[in-house]
């Protein structure tokens, strides 16, 4: 059973499904993530698929500075993702609020205060290569020893 699970994990970590959610960004980081899908960066060659469906996602990319409208939406979305799962904060906004972190703005960064964040990619926006690096570095960790020790 342990060997079978190991094989399953080894295969699954080469086929990562990604969903992204924009919790109030300026669209700069969204465009950099879209650039990852384009032929120049082409994340599918690394076995990363963007379906944007939390039910089949392994990695959630969070973009944006967490506006009040997401208060009752982001956590349910995070809970819909089946285990094992990780979230990556893309850009400055989910880390610190970036330029919007000023008095009187309706944002509540960091996103790590609302859902567990495993990795942060700083930058305004981060480069597609940096986003790719973060996803690729985290992909083997998602399924490492998943359900192996329990059995």
């Amino acid at each position: 059973m342990g060997i079978l699970q190991n094989v399953k994990n080894a295969v699954r970590q080469r086929s990562i499904h990604v969903a992204y959610v924009d919790v109030g960004s300026c669209n700069g980081c969204d465009i950099e993530i879209l650039a990852c899908l384009a032929p120049r960066y082409d994340i599918e060659q690394y076995g990363i698929y963007v379906h944007n469906n939390p039910r089949e996602a392994d990695i959630l990319l969070v973009i944006g500075a967490y506006t009040p409208g997401w208060a009752d939406r982001l956590l349910p979305l995070w809970e819909k993702i089946p285990d094992p799962k990780v979230a990556i904060a893309i850009g400055n906004c989910p880390i610190s609020g970036c330029l919007f972190a000023r008095p009187g703005t309706l944002i509540h960064p960091p996103v790590a205060a609302h859902i567990p964040i495993s990795a942060e990619v700083p930058g305004c926006p981060p480069r597609p290569t940096e986003i790719l690096q973060a996803v690729l570095a985290l992909a083997p960790e998602v399924f490492r020893d998943y359900e192996v020790r329990v059995l």
């Binding site: 960066y41 610190s96 942060e120």
Partner: protein
């Protein structure tokens, strides 16, 4: 004859280099070009704590100048810094570098200069002298200055003349805004004027 030509046709298609490429194809490693602005890195030159970097920085909390055992050092905070390169451009000593900002600034002879203008609202100023006493430039010139802001010399930055604050030597101002923080009426304002200038090359 027919069969051998068909065989050669197949062999052409299973050429080892093509087969290998089919299974292992990857985009060439994408390198960050040298002209991309990264997070500012120290060049090793000494920081004189002019704080121009903190004054021009558009991102809240992205840069601090902190004191360490060997002097002042700018600290870039990732997660706040937007890599605009303005701190690199505004620094009078070239303490930071990022991409080719320093090279292009030197090549084009451009600079970001900060000047300071002090406006005193003479209606709400009550001449308490808090601004003149709190001002760190004044303290360096006239450490004896105390309550009331009466000056012992006439080349101070701020002093109180006839019950009103008076700006004497505006050129001495370093834009720290300490006077603003100490004014009980909000009567004094320091404007930081950022100008991009280019030296006329002959």
């Amino acid at each position: 004859m027919m069969a051998s030509s068909f065989l050669w046709y197949l062999v052409e298609f299973i050429r080892p280099s093509w087969v290998r490429k089919f299974f292992t194809v990857r985009t060439a490693p994408l390198l960050t070009p040298p002209y991309f602005r990264g997070f500012p890195e120290p060049t090793g030159k000494a920081c004189t704590r002019a704080l121009r970097c903190m004054m021009v920085c558009p991102a809240p909390g992205a840069i601090d100048v902190v004191k360490e055992a060997d002097g002042w050092h700018p600290r870039i905070h990732r997660g706040h810094c937007i890599r605009c390169g303005l701190c690199v451009e505004a620094c009078p000593n070239g303490v930071l570098s990022s991409g080719r900002v320093l090279e292009s600034v030197t090549a084009s002879g451009t600079a970001l200069t900060l000047t300071f203008r002090i406006d005193v609202d003479t209606v709400s100023c009550m001449g308490c002298g808090n601004c003149a006493v709190a001002c760190p430039v004044n303290r360096g010139l006239d450490p004896q200055m105390a309550y009331g802001g009466r000056a012992s010399r006439d080349d101070l930055l701020l002093c109180v003349v006839e019950g009103k604050c008076k700006v004497v030597r505006e050129d001495r101002c370093n834009g720290c805004k300490t006077c603003e923080d100490h004014c009980p009426n909000g009567a004094i304002r320091v404007d930081r004027v950022l100008q991009a200038v280019q030296a006329v090359s002959l």
